[in-house]
Symmetry: D2
Subunit: 397 residues, 4 copies
Amino acid sequence: MTERVVLAYSGGLDTSVCIGWIAEETGAEVIAVAVDVGQGGEDLDVIRQRALDCGAVEAEVADARDEFADEYCLPALKANALYQGQYPLVSALSRPVIVKHLVAAAKKHGATTVAHGCTGKGNDQVRFEVGIQSLAPELKCIAPVRDYAMTRDKAIAFAEAKGLPIATTKKSPYSIDQNVFGRAVETGFLEDIWNAPIEDVYEYTQNPATPREADEVVITFEAGVPVAIDGRKVTVLQAIEELNKRAGGQGIGRLDMVEDRLVGIKSREIYEAPGAIALITAHQALENVTVERELARYKRQVEQRWAELVYDGLWFSPLKRALDGFVNEANQHVTGEIRMVLHGGRAVVNGRKSAQSLYDFNLATYDTGDTFDQSMSKGFIEIFGMSSKIAARRDLA
Amino acid sequence: MTERVVLAYSGGLDTSVCIGWIAEETGAEVIAVAVDVGQGGEDLDVIRQRALDCGAVEAEVADARDEFADEYCLPALKANALYQGQYPLVSALSRPVIVKHLVAAAKKHGATTVAHGCTGKGNDQVRFEVGIQSLAPELKCIAPVRDYAMTRDKAIAFAEAKGLPIATTKKSPYSIDQNVFGRAVETGFLEDIWNAPIEDVYEYTQNPATPREADEVVITFEAGVPVAIDGRKVTVLQAIEELNKRAGGQGIGRLDMVEDRLVGIKSREIYEAPGAIALITAHQALENVTVERELARYKRQVEQRWAELVYDGLWFSPLKRALDGFVNEANQHVTGEIRMVLHGGRAVVNGRKSAQSLYDFNLATYDTGDTFDQSMSKGFIEIFGMSSKIAARRDLA
Amino acid sequence: MTERVVLAYSGGLDTSVCIGWIAEETGAEVIAVAVDVGQGGEDLDVIRQRALDCGAVEAEVADARDEFADEYCLPALKANALYQGQYPLVSALSRPVIVKHLVAAAKKHGATTVAHGCTGKGNDQVRFEVGIQSLAPELKCIAPVRDYAMTRDKAIAFAEAKGLPIATTKKSPYSIDQNVFGRAVETGFLEDIWNAPIEDVYEYTQNPATPREADEVVITFEAGVPVAIDGRKVTVLQAIEELNKRAGGQGIGRLDMVEDRLVGIKSREIYEAPGAIALITAHQALENVTVERELARYKRQVEQRWAELVYDGLWFSPLKRALDGFVNEANQHVTGEIRMVLHGGRAVVNGRKSAQSLYDFNLATYDTGDTFDQSMSKGFIEIFGMSSKIAARRDLA
Amino acid sequence: MTERVVLAYSGGLDTSVCIGWIAEETGAEVIAVAVDVGQGGEDLDVIRQRALDCGAVEAEVADARDEFADEYCLPALKANALYQGQYPLVSALSRPVIVKHLVAAAKKHGATTVAHGCTGKGNDQVRFEVGIQSLAPELKCIAPVRDYAMTRDKAIAFAEAKGLPIATTKKSPYSIDQNVFGRAVETGFLEDIWNAPIEDVYEYTQNPATPREADEVVITFEAGVPVAIDGRKVTVLQAIEELNKRAGGQGIGRLDMVEDRLVGIKSREIYEAPGAIALITAHQALENVTVERELARYKRQVEQRWAELVYDGLWFSPLKRALDGFVNEANQHVTGEIRMVLHGGRAVVNGRKSAQSLYDFNLATYDTGDTFDQSMSKGFIEIFGMSSKIAARRDLA
């Protein structure tokens, strides 16, 4: 029987060419799989037909938007996951859900190999392949761009030679990956890290410097899950989409950073993630009210490791599962409302309300009603500082 | 010989009353010590005279602004110290430098006790007393507000009865602590955490929503130290002061948070720290370019512990010294220039330049000149993902 | 109605005197509660009667040995909990289970206060009181030794004056706390930390230097729980008890350490915990076979924090619950058999067997059957070392 | 000019064959470099001559024993470095010092490449190559066993065909690496992890079960450095050597573990490290007396990362340098004497003495002279437990 290869298919030039290229290199039949994670653009049926027209023996498309929001973006939100303290893992989150669909298709169609369109110097190749190894260790992985030297120029020549139904003329200067949780842009002139990005780079966000009215929003969380916006019930997907519009409309969520790739190099990245940044900001503010101090301090360290793991492509790893055990427990009481003002590129929390609040007005207030017993403090300070004091007596001697 | 008490003196009502109050409670002579950490306000000589007029047997004033910037704010900058990921430790940084001057005065004047004006439910009492215990374990500490029930009302009555040369009429609704690194505000109506702050609360920052021209600034660092702004050499103090003006003028550095105090309660705090936030933002961006990945990842965890320690009043502790050993080593190559735009409440880095850069254009570029050997990636991925893959084979079985 | 105080009652002199002492100090009725956590010694009914004879209005005794083993010792085993890398938290584990029974008794009998016999300079006062605050924040705590200056001499005088049915003559030189998980001893001559312990100090362990036959044992774990010894099914309690005998008979589990107390001082402690040490040693060895590397590395850090939290009396804290979420997930596959030799003070693992093993003979072997693809290593090394190499190029320049 | 390759030369069959093998594969001249790290065995001059006889164009030998002890073993001791809590990094420590000599030789002789005899599935290939990349990024690395398929059988055939002056008949069943800090053994029958090691495996240690007299030793440290044994001044090398004899003679330092390799697999390893284990045990005990609690707690986490980094071959990495900054600061006061009994496989500390001690008899004692103010504890407990208590009030509601 002819070998079968499942290809992660986007509908664009590169992966359209991959269909025939893989067939020629390996003699295998190619099954194209396109997964909608909210990247927008063409209709899934159009994409499906194009795959078939380009020579795929089968083509599958899946609307994974809710799955992506509920099972991938939401855990990231609960973990306030920001790689290097900034990047909300946009692409890193979408790879595992795509992998899941690729592996399912491989099993369904009896494929032995999964192919993807990544280069050999980025993070996504690792995320795809380690993900696939972890869900189906028996599958092989190939990446035509990396393994068969399928450069852009060769891809265009191939498409034209074969008459593939895909445009080859327009070459965008931008290399883009986007989904409902955000958008990543790389481009030649930004590889000089002294150059500033230009407005043209952005699509999910308006210019924050443009004068406009502020937008006030109230987000309701239940156990860490955003469940309502301004009192209207929402799914996680809807929450992200609405905040993409509203926070994006205020220029919120633009990032310009030099980032440490898993493959050991530093790269310049521009991101837009208005919904993600707004939600994480609100979630953190609610945690400040509802999570006990020592748990909060430890969770910050867990969050960092969580973000690194997922960035590094280890979504399906045992450590990820165990950290989720911690993170879910820590979100149990993160219930309440956060009011924030979206304006001029800033998402600013200015009100919190929670039946699960640990903020105790009577302990905190300096006015009438103060219940804090200040006489306890002297003993606390004496013993809290004891080990430092004993060390000081020695060190000063 | 009469016992002597050194009092941390601000020149305000509370500590002016403390002079006589302590004398009455303890029979001791009171020596007032005022330390200028950039809090602004009255002239030091005026403050000194007032202390004497209020009954102090001696009064000392010290301009510790450069010392504060160089030895307290700078280590915080090198550690990107943000408590709970937000608060740049404004008051927490000033306490140890004040403590140092109090202890020096106590030794000079043969005092056995140090007094401060803090209440018994805040962090500052701990920072003062643990600091004093650590520099001079033989000194005792007293806090009249906490230990002798010196309430505001009683203080006013005392001042009026004794005819102290200090205004008692105007009662500001705000409880404020400020220094060159920032400003902290607490006030009654914000103790309801659903209430938003009003513009009246702020002093170091303009309203970010006011339309104005953007301000572009280039900050030069050497080994983590800000040494020039827009090409002009600056001291650390000057860097903070200039950025307080310029970033503050753009509404940068406002914080509104519910924070975990060391004494176990949550409190609502408003901070303004335009210079601190601008400098930390720039410093982090330069680290992203000049610090190796594994060092950067570990440093993030060290930074958190550093900030917690200093927040908790353990500036003079053995762990703080050892963490500084790490942080200084990590800053050795943080040399270069950061260009950032200050505008509308945002400090946005958009350019980096460094002779110590680890960003390698030829490894990063997708264009001509690419030197990254993509053929290495397959082996990397296989072995990097090996332990996850082996675990997956078991877990899926 | 007369106030009621629940007293943690041991049956010994101190807590027997406490019954009357508390009554005199507070006018309250005292309810004695004794909890059997495997400390051995007198029959519970005898203890119960003594409490009544000493003036308690009610006396309750509870056999909490299985509860203690299953709900307190077992989580510690899953976390390989060793404070300062050595001490298996013997007393620290028993306090929360005792607290649970005290609180239940307080609710049942309408008491407003809980009393315990601890001094004011140890850890146990914190464990009792923070535990009680966490299970019943409305209850007050008192400690007659600390709060009412009930010294040993005064207690003896009180007992003799009142004719309490308790021996006052024999004064053991040792201060001892013991339960099924181990035994702690403090004594005057060991407060000189240069002095060596003498054989007389030990009770759970034989002299390891005595010649005897080695004892080989096979312990079976399921998901981290010891379920069989030498093929015989056991409860957790039985596992600890049997290994106390067998490992204790070989002189295993003696500890002599200077330890950091929560109250800020260092103290010299002698512990014996033969069963605990044998079980933790076996559990760790099985984890080495069944837990994936990154999870194992992270778990080591979680284990340390877990042990510190529990040592510090924060058993009922939110962070403890969240860490347990992690630890339980990490133990899911810790299933299999460990063979160890108990001999001469050493518990040495020399065989492991597991259906959940991640040890892959074919990947590990250097002999026939090797399936490890060594050609992958070159790429791995190149990229794994990339960020160090790039940093080196700069640092050497 | 002919290319030159520097070869890490041991004098054994494999690396002797490598000389000619590399010459044939690459056409390069081979320079053999042997480094004495205390592995014992043949005289360095004999080894040097053999390299020349086997075809090396140059051969260098270096006695690096003191350098190894002072600059590699000592930092490990200061960090109490035990990978997976057990393995004192024996081989992992020797690789960087060997690398340093290889790189120096490459520079001296104008070589472009460094070769080593490691396989492609172990840790040492990574340690050699990442080390070389970090000291001399311009050098290439080759490993004939891995890269040119130089199996043992082929090596024997090559040696016999070329008449190399090296024995090919005796095939030890053991694969061994040893140096002054310890000895590692792998062997076929132990690849079945249920099999116990046999006495034949060990060389640095006597059978711990053999009856013999105990040996008491006093080790003196200054700032973490062992400087005297039983009052006699020693170098670090002498300290390790003497304790190898004395602790080894008591059967101390045997390890049998399943370990997580950097290349993602688990392997069974037998180690002997009597001197290392005795020194680390003593060093830890002295830290318990001289290091402040919070520093000690944090240092445990730093130690783990230090050990992982060095195990993973990142000795020359920026993070390693920064962690050393922390570790050295933390060792500043680790000065004093530790008395320990070496007997029956156990190294048991039973006395500590230090002018830098933080153990305060008067604070610790329960006898006359107690200076601990127990009245402080109530306030401490109240505030220390506050955040847990507030959380409990909510969670119980």
